[in-house]
Symmetry: C2
Subunit: 432 residues, 2 copies
């Protein structure tokens, strides 16, 4: 019996696209067995025909005419990134009933609902495991393995660059600027590191994870996002001293009848499984009603790891493309709404720069009490008078019990008005 052929168009030949081209070429024999059909790479759409590539496929495959390539394909693998022309091209494919695999997190976090609707309309399949946490299988476990369970919370380290930086600060006591320079030198951080360090990259992934975990459509604008640029060596050292480590955490959790999605620097206890995620690795910690606590760990980026995730999607979708059957299930039946930060209940650490004088602890403790915020621990550390702030000769670190964002904010406002408090140096959430 002749096996059916599946025509594959690859859009993009960058770090990930090159690896996908390599696997499609070199693993042809295995792929035929796994798919039950013959995947034929019919072309690779690129911007420039003579750019250097990590993997050089047959020269005749490269083309600058993406649209006509899409029109000739059964399956389109989009690995160009960015909003346009990626969005228009994916829609062109889906509208024509062609299956699409994409790793474009920014696009999916911004236009996922539109793309899913197009797929639903035409009966095409649309998969994007590679968009979140590189090689780590997280979307499929959320969608399929936990299909009979109820996720209550997801905590994720979803950005490798910032995890590398925070881990280096934690291990060597280095300053933020030093570790950023090191990350740039090693190629972990871009020349313009904004998307990583301000949390935008993690926020896009959090929106996608929240959508699948809670069966609802969330947009990157639904994510409350704070980056790590304010985190100092002092914050990291103080956390370490208290048995915590600071991570840029994506938190997606049920909040009343909605879902709260946020990305911010967060203290987690060193005994928590997420605390041992080092270097540029990613991990996603899932809490669910029946399964309990699960963690998925692995490389969050890189050409070959991300290509592995793309190929996993491709094989599943190609099997169905050939044998028929249902595509990826529609994940949005719940229709939950994103919630504001004001109801979020969490623990916090607060670092205050103060003058060590009679009654300063009492006046600070009173402000917390008046605002209904319960204190778990309070430490004062005496130090030399700061050169930049006259009279500031001590630091007070407070860890609160669980409290609402609103109550904490009003406490912080009132603390700033105390004459002995020179600066609220840091306010960081505590999870885990």
């Amino acid at each position: 019996m002749t096996k059916p052929t599946l025509k594959v168009a690859l859009l993009g030949a960058g770090t990930v696209g090159s690896q996908v081209a390599r696997i499609l070429t070199e693993d042809r024999k295995d792929l035929i067995e796994r798919i039950g059909g013959v995947p034929e790479l019919i072309g690779i759409a690129v911007r420039s025909l003579d750019a250097p590539r990590d993997y050089q496929a047959d020269a005749s495959l490269y083309t600058t005419d993406a649209d006509s390539l899409i029109d000739r394909a059964d399956v389109v693998i989009e690995l160009t990134g960015g909003m346009e022309p990626a969005r228009t091209r994916i829609l062109r494919a889906l509208n024509a009933g062609k299956h699409v695999v994409s790793g474009n997190k920014a696009l999916i976090a911004a236009h996922g609902a539109e793309l899913m609707a197009a797929a639903r309309e035409s009966g095409a399949q649309f998969s994007f495991e590679a968009a979140v946490a590189g090689a780590i299988p997280i979307l499929r476990p959320l969608r399929d393995s936990l299909a009979g369970d109820h996720v209550t919370r997801v905590l994720g380290i979803m950005n490798g660059t910032t995890n590398f930086m925070l881990d280096a600060m934690d291990s060597h006591g280095a300053a933020f600027d030093e570790v950023l320079a090191e990350a740039q030198k090693l190629g972990y951080a871009e020349a313009d590191p904004t998307a990583d360090i301000e949390g935008h990259d993690a926020a896009a992934k959090a929106a996608i994870v929240a959508s699948l975990a809670f069966h609802s459509e969330f947009h990157i604008d639904d994510v409350h996002c704070t980056g790590i640029s304010e985190i100092t060596a002092d914050d990291v050292a103080a956390a370490k001293n208290d048995g915590y480590v600071i991570k840029l955490l994506s938190v997606c959790e049920r909040d009343g009848e909605g879902v709260n999605i946020r990305v911010n620097p967060t203290l987690i206890p060193r005994t928590h499984p997420l605390a041992s995620v080092r270097d540029a690795y990613n991990a996603v910690f899932v809490e669910s009603r029946d399964a309990g606590e699960l963690m998925f760990y692995g490389p969050g980026a890189g050409g070959a790891p991300t290509a592995s995730a793309v190929m996993g999607d491709f094989v599943s979708l190609a099997r169905r493309g050939i044998l028929g059957g249902p595509g990826v299930p529609d994940y949005s039946y719940r229709g939950l709404q994103a919630t504001s930060l004001s109801n979020v209940v969490s623990r916090y650490t607060v670092g205050l720069l103060v003058k060590d004088q009679l009654g300063v602890l009492a006046s600070i403790a009173n402000k917390f009490a008046e605002n209904g915020v319960s204190i778990e621990t309070m430490h004062q550390t005496k130090h030399r008078e700061r050169e930049d702030v006259e009279g500031a000769d001590a630091t007070i670190r407070i860890v609160t019990h669980k409290t609402s964002d609103q109550k904490l904010k009003s406490t912080i406002d009132e603390l700033s008005s105390l004459s002995a408090v020179f600066d609220v140096a840091s306010v960081i959430q505590v999870e885990g």
Copy 2:
């Protein structure tokens, strides 16, 4: 549009079965949305109608006539465990084209090939995520997420009881018998703990994982298995002292043109992600060509966690049962063979009870050299003369570089013949 109904037969109402009955009953509304059809629990086959249950479903559902229940169902969920009548019942269902979900690791490790063949023959789907590592999604990621990749090695902590015991020995320096008694008191270990401590439970899971990871059929008899009953507080303390922790590890790795599958106590460095798997948790660490290193962590047993895995399989299979399409892919196209231990290359620690006399280290080191085994480190610890072994007043611990099982065995044989060596107290693999 009326949604189609799917008749579900549940076999077994024990710890896991009760939780599945609860979820099918209480989550009906969500399940209908997720499946696209109505799952109707038509009966629960039990041995005794009036046994106490963790969850009491409608009394009319319980029956002792499993066969006629199976004959009326579209989907059968088998959670009785053991070989018979489970095997005959699953075959009855699959032969009639009914889809089956099972969590029966012993049965699948022994008769998986027969059951898969029956499913293939009739076009029925057969899923068993719950058979390995409880709630942790591991079979689906191996089968689907890594479908375009090549797994090179799997290292797994797949038995919660022994991990609890080894973790307690590591944390409190307790003896084997103490921690076994504690595990039994807490309900982690059975009155007869043989299946856990001798590694048979982990071996069944290793055979299943190896089958999916390497696209070949493996049987529990293909697994080389050593339990933890010989592990002493001294072994654990010595490992700790050297920066290692002892885990009962399942190792499945490519070995030439075959696959080596073994379960044995193994030293892993404390910096390895598997080292931080505490208590009765399980974890599976996967090394693959493109994805690199992935780890999946979570509860390896328990009613609700295992039920979550069963329900994940059920929802996926029910969607396909209603909407049509390909079932679980056939995983055996590779046909790789299991290999013997003799070619396995690993690092080892060897603990020797000796008399501290002139030349003893040299004579031991010579035996390693003569057999072609390279030594990484060698420590001698002097202690009081052992009461049970006259003259034995020192312990030597050797860590080898990578060597074959065969070379190590001949070294050990020759060491035993040295007059200054009283006992080869321990030989433990090192991985990671």
